[in-house]
């Protein structure tokens, strides 16, 4: 077994701590998308958020990142209060973000996309190691280094988006529906990568519509419905819970 570690263990562990979300709410105009939800994520653990479309999963993640305004609630990472931190500074606190729909920079090469993931670090000194680690995790990106990101297939773009988020050596990775639009084989590949990242100690907050992927990739799950947390529990147990199917299929 090779000894390479995947990015995610910076030397500084001073603020290494649990992610605590308290009473997070998001309103768009008059609509309540997320209604006062709370959850914790211990360092190095993995939590999934699943639910039908419109349940508020993506809004939760975006609100966490500060990409949409929160109408209430607090976010803490260890002893640091992230509630007032701007979205562009989240990455400096060790949070990597993989947006729904990939959102790679289509006119830039794969390599440039990855380098931008390490924007907050020096490109001269702090980039080679995470870059080689990402290439090792997703070999296809190494082959396509010079290709324009826009020309990549959906699955390759997803790998690129994850790789880009890993370049800043985050402690916690937020992923928004990475399986969307991907074939089962690719979903399997992504899952293997996520499992590997987990074993290396990277914290994972995975928002997904695909319940199967989430149960396998995380140890705990929240099931959201209409902006609220309907069910929580260990992934292993929720696998067999009929309530989950009801929430998804409205049954």
């Amino acid at each position: 077994m090779t000894q390479t570690t995947t990015p995610g263990h910076p030397a500084d562990t001073a603020a290494d701590g649990a992610l605590r979300v308290d009473d997070l709410s998001v309103h768009y105009g008059g609509v309540c998308a997320v209604s006062s939800i709370s959850f914790n994520l211990a360092p190095g653990h993995s939590v999934g958020i699943i639910g039908a479309n419109g349940a508020g999963k993506t809004s939760t993640l975006k609100a966490l990142m500060g990409l949409v305004p929160r109408s209430g609630g607090r976010v803490q990472l260890g002893d640091r209060d992230l509630t007032k931190v701007k979205a562009r500074d989240m990455v400096r606190h060790g949070i990597g973000y993989v947006p729904e729909g990939r959102h790679v920079f289509p006119g830039l090469s794969v390599r440039k996309n990855l380098l931008l993931g390490a924007y907050v670090h020096s490109w001269r000194r702090q980039v080679d190691e995470p870059l080689s680690q990402v290439y090792e995790l997703f070999p296809v990106l190494a082959e396509m280094g010079g290709r324009l990101a826009g020309a990549l297939s959906g699955g390759q773009q997803q790998m690129l988006a994850i790789g880009r988020a890993l370049m800043s050596r985050p402690r916690l990775l937020l992923l928004d529906e990475p399986s969307m639009g991907l074939s089962p084989k690719l979903i399997e590949d992504i899952m293997q990568a996520l499992l590997r990242l987990r074993t290396e100690g990277l914290g994972l907050l995975l928002v997904e519509q695909n319940a199967k992927l989430t149960f396998e990739a995380t140890s705990e799950c929240l099931v959201m419905e209409n902006g609220e947390v309907a069910i929580t529990g260990a992934s292993e147990e929720l696998r067999h819970d009929p309530r989950v199917r009801r929430v998804y299929l409205g049954l």
Binding site: G29, G30, V31, A33, A52, N53, G54, G150, A151, G154, E177, S179, M180, G181, S183, I187, Q209, N210, A211, K212, L213, F215, N226, R239, H240, D241, P242, V244, R245, Y248, L249, G250, L251
Partner: protein, 604 residues
């Protein structure tokens, strides 16, 4: 209302008596100010009402003035015949400028129209027939039944009548169906097209109107000053006009007039400090754009809104009334010809396959559900059916006739209506006006009535308003009829969008996620509305994620995944299909041991 009439009467008296109190310089200033006011109205019609960037207004002005000048001094025409031809020339130029507007918008349009202004300036500065830099002088005084219009005092009355006519016509157009359509186009051209507005023709109309106003102003200018030269029609004048319209408030014609006359008078006062004045009004434009985009005309509305915020009405809160079902249509013989047929439709976006060989058939009177996980292509399919996208492969047929490739406004004319996932209501129109736009089924080619038979337009508008009142009442929106949609709760906005879609009298209604963001009670009301719509003879196809709603509402369901149809049938059948379960949950083995129970309608 009475206050308004007394105000107008007072203004009329002042306007009539004005020349008596002014010296010859002052009346000259007023005369020129009125010309700018007419120009500003034209610009407001194009920019503020129709949303078209029009930086060529000064060229239309110039065409009117120069054509009059050339035809009278060089070709020997009488003033009024020359004026008529000048107006025609302005209209033709307006049409020509509109052509680029059909292909480009916003900044491109700004550049093209600005380029036209410069090109025109270039031509009049060089062409010998236009007199070059010296311009053309000795334009004859317009003859007027023995009244000597050489006097600027008397010319004032001619201008006042022209100005009043121009303003009245402008206000008439704005309040009439044509103006409403233009404002809808300005607010959301996509949605306007989807309810039948013929966007290209509307854009051309906007430019022709602007050019006609420019032509009138030009003719009046030629008759007043009796000398035309390039400096008057320069870019500086164009930007001054723009400033007038922005400061006054481009969306209000009265605002444009106030801005024009106000800025013109201020400039005249500060003639000795012309450049500082220019610096000032440039700064005001920037400040207005950032802080007060609705201009001076929008100030009363903003004050009122701020007042209401401080003193919230304690009177009876506005409430959504219950929906009144449509009268049921006589049961038509069960027709087997599909109302909608999708044959092998594919759609690619730069290598990404969004739809892959999708086929489905919807019979008249059905309620069909289209479901599938996120990213499966449902909205793309709707966009292809409603004409927003062109299919890369396959065909769409309506009543057996191929409609694929037709623009959305033509599909609307053939009876297809839709709502949008992200709500596309016309933000600057009231709820009632949103519905009025959709009710208007006339074609743009009948706009000749505005010039020649305004009574017909008036009558049509009254009929539309009657129909709108009935529809507003039916959907329980009476309390909100005059509200701006943006300020209303989400559930009410959704209902407005459905009401607007039904106003277009469709035979096929496409609803894109109508239940998104609705609570349980609202979802129930939605289901009742959809059933009533179907009972009135309209076929409904809806995209939904709320499976409970789909199950209880739809007779048949089509499931999409990765752009392809993976299942079709009754809701009960579809939900038990392994492929469907896998698409949603990721695996058929997940919870395979747990039986599925479908709730009956009673327990929902």
């Amino acid at each position: 209302m009475k206050l308004r009439l007394t105000g107008i009467a007072a203004l009329a008296v002042v306007a009539w008596l004005l020349p008596y109190g002014l010296n010859s310089y002052a009346i000259h200033v007023v005369d020129v100010a009125l010309i700018f006011a007419i120009l500003a109205i034209g610009m407001g019609l194009a920019m503020g009402i129709a949303g078209q960037i029009n930086l060529a207004q000064v060229a239309f002005f110039g065409v009117g003035a120069y054509a009059t000048a050339i035809l009278t001094t060089r070709e020997g025409y009488g003033f009024w015949p020359a004026a008529a031809l000048a107006m025609l020339a302005a209209a033709v130029i307006g049409l020509l400028v509109a052509l680029p507007a059909l292909r480009v918008q916003s900044h491109y349009l700004g550049i093209v129209t600005l380029g036209l202004a410069i090109a025109f300036l270039n031509w009049i500065t060089n062409a010998p027939i236009a007199g070059g830099a010296e311009g053309i002088s000795a334009i004859p005084v317009p003859p007027m039944f023995g009244i000597n219009l050489f006097s600027e005092y008397l010319y004032y009355y001619l201008e006042a009548i022209a100005f009043l006519g121009a303003l009245a016509f402008g206000l008439f157009v704005v309040r009439a169906p044509l103006g409403r359509r233009m404002r809808a186009m300005r607010d959301d051209a996509l949605a306007a097209g989807a309810i039948g507005a013929e966007i290209p023709l509307l854009r051309m109309t906007a430019f022709v109107l602007a050019s006609l106003y420019g032509g009138v102003a030009g003719v009046l200018y030629a008759g007043l000053i009796r000398y035309v030269a390039p400096e008057t029609f320069s870019l500086a004048t164009m930007f001054l006009l723009l400033a007038m319209v922005i400061i006054g408030g481009r969306q209000s014609l009265v605002g444009c007039v106030i801005g024009a006359i106000g800025l013109f008078l201020v400039r005249e006062e500060l003639t000795d400090f012309a450049t500082s004045a220019q610096l000032a009004y440039g700064a005001v434009v920037v400040l207005m754009v950032v802080f007060a985009p609705t201009g001076l005309a929008g100030v009363p509305a903003r004050l009122r809104a701020a007042w209401r915020k401080r003193h919230p009405q304690s009177s009876a809160r506005a409430a959504l009334r219950p929906f009144q079902p449509f009268p049921a249509a006589p049961t038509a013989s069960s027709s087997q010809t599909a109302i909608l047929e999708v044959r092998g439709v594919g759609k690619r976006f730069r290598g990404l396959k969004a739809l892959d060989d999708v086929s489905l058939t919807v019979l008249p009177g059905e309620i069909r559900g289209i479901v599938g996980p996120n990213g499966s292509g449902k909205t793309t399919l709707f966009n292809v059916i409603s004409g927003l996208y062109k299919a890369s492969a396959g065909q769409v047929l309506l009543d057996g006739r191929v409609v694929s490739g037709l623009p959305s406004y033509q599909l609307s004319q053939r009876g297809v209506a839709r709502t949008f996932q992200n709500l596309r209501l016309f933000g600057n129109l009231t709820v009632r006006e949103n519905i009025l736009v959709a009710l208007d089924r006339t074609r743009t080619r009948s706009i000749w009535r505005y010039a020649l038979w305004p009574i017909g337009v008036w009558r049509q508008d009254a009929a539309l308003k009657g129909a709108a009142a009935a529809l507003v009442d039916r959907f329980g929106l009476i309390d909100f009829a005059h509200a701006a949609p943006r300020s209303l709760p989400y559930g009410i906005q959704r209902r407005i969008e459905i009401a607007r879609a039904m106003a277009a009298a469709p035979r096929l209604l496409l609803l894109d996620e109508p239940a998104a963001g609705l609570n349980g009670e609202e979802v129930g009301q939605l289901a009742d509305i959809v059933r009533s719509i179907r009972a009135s003879g309209v076929t409904v196809v809806l995209i939904e994620h709320n499976m409970g709603l789909v199950m209880s509402l739809c007779e048949r369901v089509t499931v999409l995944s990765h752009g392809a149809v993976i299942a079709e049938g009754t809701p009960a059948d579809v939900v038990a299909t392994p492929a469907v379960i896998e698409a949603y949950l990721g695996d058929t083995t997940t919870m395979a041991d747990v039986p599925i129970q479908i709730p009956s309608e009673a327990t929902r």
